[in-house]
């Protein structure tokens, strides 16, 4: 009897103990870490400072579950988070302190916003009684980032942390993805609170997924079935909506030729017979010219950026436009749609595929092929197999692409080399092209490649950068050193801000104002960061140097000295129509 009672008492004590465990209070800072873990985050990028120190202190206890990558500049943290998100499809996370830490994030947040990249940025803020007092390292972070975030919130009470994080992750990744900023005052990080986490699946004022209007799908199918010259153009919406298979099925059943925007690249393998290349300013001849000859233009998950459309007054005027787009605000924003399909690309393409008739458009496809041949003879052949002494960016990209055979993630920066990489690298797998499209952020490449590699450690990740852009975030070589990230860097060094120089040559009478670069010894710099590095100046050395780069176990830097005053063609000059695309 006594035994039983003792057992009962022990049980009661035990259960009381458990109760206190449940009710145990933790700091707001620890709650931040627990929220990240609850969202399945295992990697964050950041840089510490006064106002975020409690969170860094909490991170110290969770090093086994949550890896923190110390970058060299907060811009690097947010670009790395973007690269991670773009490569994996998961939400990228970065952390910075208040004031300068937070303002250093702004470029990357704006980049993520315009390119629909899901990132959650956590910033420290001065203690709440100091808000608005011009305290040390106080800036109105929310006020600054609101124009470039999908959502943001300032937290002054630790009890708000779990709900804010749950919402932040849900908002960042649902609907059209985008960046979210959570600004947490230092007192809220210290404040004790009871932690309870509930994943967010619904916000009453937010409608990320529209219901498809089937009548519109039927209307679109009817147009397509009657069409003689249909043309499909796709953007990143296909990748974000995981609609790659649906796109392929639609194309194969319909027989319709297609082309992509810069961010749509890799949604459909380059070698697919219905893939006719890139749209826009430095895109391919056929898709640009024939945009103005098709009778039905089916735009999927893209937003008619001005770099794609050229002069909108002379863009696809002859065609009926079907616009499939998840973001209602993009429909009719630039180009008026005849059939508006406000929908997720995956669902819409699936439904549309069921309703269309299989067809072949031999004459129409031949028009693409003829223009392809003209472009090949006039530009591509020479780009890929040049006969002059100087090395061309395009031949470097060709060799890398041939050796990799599609199985790598290629990250590019911004400029001539970016266009060359987009034009000549052959992709097989989705999410294998990462670049800053909408904002065109020089300095994006190196940190984004670090993020991509950490997110996809088994993939070869190649960063192809101009000498200008490399120097905008060159300090992230330190992150590669400290974290041992095996990113393979190729600097295409023309000793110019090449793209700007090209414009100066074409539109400003060759007045090369502030575009020539006196560069440091990149090899010495790389070695200073403990990286193996090589410089190539001659064609004979190129092949083996690329082998060495690709086979390296660790991070590696290859500098290729390319022709200094080379240009990227074709080109649609600003303000010209897509059909006025120039071959020289």
């Amino acid at each position: 009897m006594k035994d039983v009672m003792e057992k009962e008492t022990a049980k009661i004590i035990e259960s009381e103990k458990n109760k206190t465990v449940v009710a145990e209070k933790i700091s707001g800072a620890e709650a931040v870490v627990k929220c990240l873990l609850a969202e399945g985050v295992d990697l964050v990028f950041g840089f510490p400072g006064g106002a975020i120190m409690p969170v860094y202190d909490a991170l110290y206890n969770y090093q086994d579950n949550l890896k923190h990558i110390l970058v060299r500049h907060e811009q690097g943290a947010v670009h790395a988070a973007e690269g991670y998100a773009r490569a994996t499809g998961k939400v990228g996370v970065c952390i910075a302190t208040s004031g300068p830490g937070a303002t250093n994030l702004v470029t990357g947040i704006a980049d993520a916003f315009i390119d629909s990249t899901p990132v959650v940025c956590i910033t420290g803020q001065v203690a709440s009684p100091l808000l608005g007092t011009d305290a040390f390292q106080e800036t109105d972070v929310i006020g600054i980032v609101t124009p470039v975030t999908k959502w943001d919130i300032q937290i002054t009470d630790a009890n708000e942390i779990p709900e804010a994080f749950a919402k932040a992750f849900y908002i960042a990744k649902s609907g059209r993805p985008g960046p979210v900023v959570i600004d947490i005052t230092k007192d809220a990080q210290f404040q004790q609170m009871e932690f309870k986490y509930e994943v967010c699946t619904k916000i009453r004022s937010y409608f990320p997924k529209p219901k498809i209007d089937l009548a519109k799908i039927e209307e679109a199918a009817e147009l397509i079935n009657k069409s003689q010259k249909p043309f499909l153009i796709f953007g990143q919406g296909v990748i974000l909506g995981q609609a790659e298979n649906e796109l392929k099925s639609f194309l194969e059943k319909s027989g319709i030729p297609s082309a992509w925007t810069l961010l749509g690249l890799s949604a459909l393998p380059n070698n697919h017979p219905q893939n006719f290349g890139m749209l826009g300013m430095h895109g391919n001849l056929a898709p640009n010219k024939l945009t103005n000859e098709c009778d039905v233009l089916i735009a999927v998950g893209m937003r008619f950026d001005d770099r794609v459309t050229g002069d909108v007054k002379r863009y696809a005027k002859q065609a009926k436009i079907i616009h499939i787009e998840l973001d209602a605000a993009e429909i009719n924003k630039i180009i008026k749609a005849d059939v508006e399909i406000h929908a997720d690309a995956k669902e819409a393409l699936f439904l549309l595929t069921n309703l269309i008739k299989p067809k072949t458009y031999s004459d129409w496809i031949n028009q693409f092929k003829e223009l392809q041949k003209i472009e090949y003879d006039k530009i591509i052949k020479h780009d890929l197999y040049p006969n002059e002494i100087g090395l061309k960016m395009s031949e470097v990209v060709r060799i890398v692409s041939e050796k990799i055979n599609g199985d790598a993630i290629v990250v590019s920066d911004v400029g001539q080399h970016q266009m060359v990489v987009a034009r000549y690298f052959n992709h097989k797998n989705t999410r294998s092209s990462i670049t800053s499209g909408g904002l065109g952020t020089m300095g994006f490449c190196l940190p984004a490649a670090i993020g991509a590699k950490l997110g996809m450690p088994d993939k070869q990740v190649i960063a192809i950068i101009g000498d200008g852009g490399f120097q905008m975030t060159i300090q992230e070589l330190g992150t590669i050193l400290q974290t041992n990230v095996a990113v393979k860097v190729i600097i295409l060094n023309n000793e110019f801000l090449g793209m700007v120089r090209q414009w100066q040559q074409m539109f400003f009478d060759k007045r090369y104002s502030q575009t020539e670069m006196i560069n440091p010894d990149f090899i010495k710099i790389a070695s200073g960061y403990g990286l193996e590095a090589q410089r190539v100046t001659k064609r004979e050395e190129l092949d083996s140097a690329i082998d060495k780069l690709l086979n390296a176990e660790a991070g590696y830097v290859l500098e290729v000295r390319v022709e200094k005053e080379d240009n990227v063609f074709p080109m649609i000059p600003t303000g010209a129509s897509v059909s006025d695309i120039r071959l020289e």
Binding site: G143, R204, Y206, F207, K209, K211
Partner: protein, 176 residues
Amino acid sequence: MKEQFTISIFTENKVGLLHRVTIIFTRRHINIESITASESEVKGIYRYTIVVFETRESVEKLVKQIEKQVDVFRAFYHTTDEIIHQEIALYKIATSSVQNGLGLEKIIRDHHARILSLGQDYIVIEKTGHKEDTKELFDSLRPFNVLEFVRSGRVAMMKEIDNFSDTLHELEKSYQ
């Protein structure tokens, strides 16, 4: 062609949201003629009324950008003949100026205004109406030397019968 539009926005009550909404206008270099905000008939749901002078096309796009914000439920735009709207104006005049027998009471009556506060030093008159009406009263009060004048932003209701709860319900049905 530019004309006057009244935009009604239903939102959550969140710090910073008004900023998020107004920068949608400023980014496009669109001037806000007037703005008011208050709680709607649904508890916790706020209503902004914003007046702009713009083309229909530009307002259409603006409203889509506004609706895209996570904490905005819905936004509507209407031309002036599609709404019932009012503004409120207050006028302060010195009590001493009334003594010169200019018939203040008659003016107030004719304009359907009223005296809000009567003090030793000054009188505050209130009038609600359209902008032209409150302006007219201002002109009529000129002889009394108006010490202070203030007019609110527009508040407006749509002429349709729908209330916001129904709209919200409909909205939920059209999304997954």
